[in-house]
């Protein structure tokens, strides 16, 4: 009976450690280093022959380096006779707007949702959640936002960009009424945070009492931290698919929603052959 072995690439050791702790396992020993000519070298430090291997890698920071490390680690496990290799990629790189990742693969893909963890966070951290409004900062996120709003039994609104003439800059138009309500902006990823900050301004000027922002993947590159520090949102909550420790030091408004239990439970269920669809509707404790 194969055992679970979890390996982590250097992109997000912290999350891998949390997952391993939840599964009461040690992270697999492996040495990743870069030669002076920038070539990556990976050496697996323990036997994986006949084992069920899970390799954690998140598309953050130096994406090309992380990707090559992941590929090299998968190759190393394969030629070391691992029984099954599963890649755990919380934030899938190069897939900015391509949600339908599953169809591009010939292998099974389990696309997990952070929605449940987000709902739990809202109920625990926002006291007036029963009277709030969920807002999407662009028209594409309407489906996501209505799903959350339905589960909380609250209303939703959305912001869309309107361009009057071709050369004019977009204008943000709020569809829905947020007056005297707490508004919660929900989006899947935030890179430079320009959209989120403009949306927050718009909501406050339309009469919202408080604005929160919840994002699944907080990439936060470039001027993002400055934008968040200057924004009028109360808090910006992101999941830990991408490591946030450094950014939290510079920006007290960032809060982290831990999703390691979802991943750990998914790994456990995949390993023992149980259904993973339970995770689409429940958050493990």
């Amino acid at each position: 009976m194969p055992n679970i072995k979890i390996f982590s690439s250097s992109s997000h050791q912290d999350l891998a450690q949390k997952i391993a702790n939840r599964l009461a396992l040690e992270l697999g020993k492996e040495v990743t280093k870069k030669f002076s000519n920038q070539e990556t070298c990976v050496e697996i430090g323990e036997s994986v022959r006949g084992e069920d291997v899970y390799i954690m890698e998140s598309g953050c920071g130096e994406i090309n380096d992380s990707l090559m490390e992941l590929l090299i680690m998968i190759n190393a496990c394969k030629i070391a006779s691992a029984s099954r290799i599963t890649a755990v990629i919380p934030c899938f790189p190069y897939a900015q707007k391509d949600k339908k990742v599953r169809g591009f693969f010939d292998i099974p893909v389990d696309n997990l949702y952070a929605e449940r963890a987000v709902l739990k966070w809202i109920k625990e951290n926002i006291s007036e959640w029963r009277n709030c409004m969920i807002v999407s900062p662009d028209a594409g996120g309407a489906k996501r936002v209505t799903s959350i709003a339905d589960r909380l039994n609250v209303d939703f609104a959305l912001i869309h960009k309107e361009r009057k003439k071709a050369s004019e800059v977009d204008r943000m138009v709020l569809v829905g009424d947020v007056k005297d309500r707490t508004a919660i902006l929900v989006d899947d990823m935030a890179d430079t945070c320009g959209t989120i900050c403009h949306a927050a301004d718009k909501l406050l000027s339309a009469g919202a009492i408080r604005v929160y922002a919840i994002l699944t993947h907080g990439i936060f590159s470039g001027p993002a931290i400055t934008h968040i520090n200057n924004t009028c949102s109360e808090a910006v909550a992101v999941t830990n698919t991408i490591p946030q420790e450094d950014k939290m030091k510079h920006c007290p408004k960032i809060q982290v929603i831990d999703i390691s239990m979802i991943l750990a439970e998914a790994i456990r269920r995949t390993h023992s052959g149980e259904s993973v669809s339970y995770l689409f509707s429940h958050v493990p404790l």
């Binding site: 070539e39 990556t40 036997s47 090309n64 380096d65 990707l67 190759n75 030629i79």
Partner: protein, 329 residues
């Protein structure tokens, strides 16, 4: 609409200036050549190459030829301990992305050609280096070709044969950690339980090799020493070899290598060492290293690459480019 910029209009294509030379707009049946140099960040360059190749493939290019003078990860072509054979991984990725032909130069191990299922042309830089020796080193007839470790003896031998010179081989302690003799399968497995191994099947313990102190096999006294190798990256082994050769009486020391990676502080170390000149080809850009160390000289190999591209495009034979190559080169 477009094709390869025909070499008649520009006599040499300088493949290393400007990294990316992309010929073509949107073409249905044309031949595309993508030149790639390997820059500081290897992984990003590889991803860029793969993305470009795939973009060309999905835009219906008839054939996509990668011109990759220095093939990356070529030192990771064997399994070491529990590592990965990255060259094979890269070869699979490139073939899958849509590459139909590969032109490269002086592969670290010729077996890497076998990792691809597309035609690979492994051109040689040795004719250019030999020409440099004959033209730029005034009394080259008094030189000895030196192999800095027994592994590169074959290459030294093939150079020496063509120049009608003698060879010398350096053997000893200063071997780099990733020598070709290390193979993962020699590492003894962990002993789980003594019962697992039948008592009568005693597997003999592998005796660790003892390295003798550095010796030079061959006579370098009163001669010019020319160390030849394919890649010069971490210069420690070259520095040690140069010291030894100096002690044995060599009055000038040259290092000739095809690929001058010269990473981290190699230029500084070379400047301070006993090496007189380091000659590399322009497969890898090293302008910065040249500024730091005037001992580094460049040999231009762009003409062989442009000739290869022209011949492939016209469907001509490539054997002319391999005519003076020895078996071991």
């Amino acid at each position: 609409m477009f094709c390869v910029a025909p070499p008649e209009s520009e006599t040499k294509m300088n493949v290393t200036k400007g990294g990316l030379v992309l010929f073509s707009a949107n073409s249905n049946s044309s031949c595309m050549e993508l030149s790639k140099k390997i820059a500081e960040d290897v992984n990003t360059t590889i991803m860029e190459l793969l993305i470009m190749v795939y973009a060309c493939k999905t835009s219906c290019a008839k054939s996509i030829i990668g011109v990759i003078p220095y093939f990356p990860y070529s030192k990771q072509c064997k399994m070491r301990k529990r590592g990965s054979i990255v060259s094979k991984l890269l070869a699979s990725m490139m073939c899958k992305a849509g590459l139909t032909h590969l032109i490269t130069m002086d592969l670290h191990q010729k077996e890497i050609q076998g990792f691809f299922n597309i035609p690979v042309d492994n051109l040689r830089a040795s004719p250019f280096l030999l020409q440099y020796i004959q033209e730029e080193i005034p009394d080259y007839r008094n030189a000895v070709i030196v192999a800095k470790s027994p592994a590169s003896a074959k290459r030294a031998q093939s150079f020496a044969e063509r120049l009608r010179l003698g060879i010398a081989v350096i053997h000893g302690e200063a071997q780099d950690a990733e020598s070709d003799l290390v193979d993962g399968r020699h590492s003894p497995p962990m002993v789980r339980s003594a019962a697992a191994i039948h008592p009568s099947l005693e597997i003999p313990m592998l005796i660790p090799k003892e390295k003798p102190p550095i010796t030079v096999v061959g006579d370098v006294g009163g001669r010019i020493a020319i160390i030849v190798d394919d890649i010069i990256d971490d210069v420690d082994s070259f520095l040690a070899a140069a010291e030894t050769l100096k002690e044995r009486g060599a009055y000038k020391i040259f290092v000739m290598a095809t690929h001058g990676l010269l990473s981290s502080d190699a230029p500084r170390l070379i400047e301070e060492s006993a090496i007189d000149e380091v000659v590399v080809t322009n497969t890898i850009p090293h302008e910065i290293q040249k500024l730091q160390c005037p001992k580094i000289k460049t040999v231009d190999i762009s003409m062989i690459l442009s000739e290869a591209i022209r011949r492939i495009h016209n469907g001509e034979s490539m054997s002319y480019l391999f005519r003076n190559i020895g078996v071991d080169d």
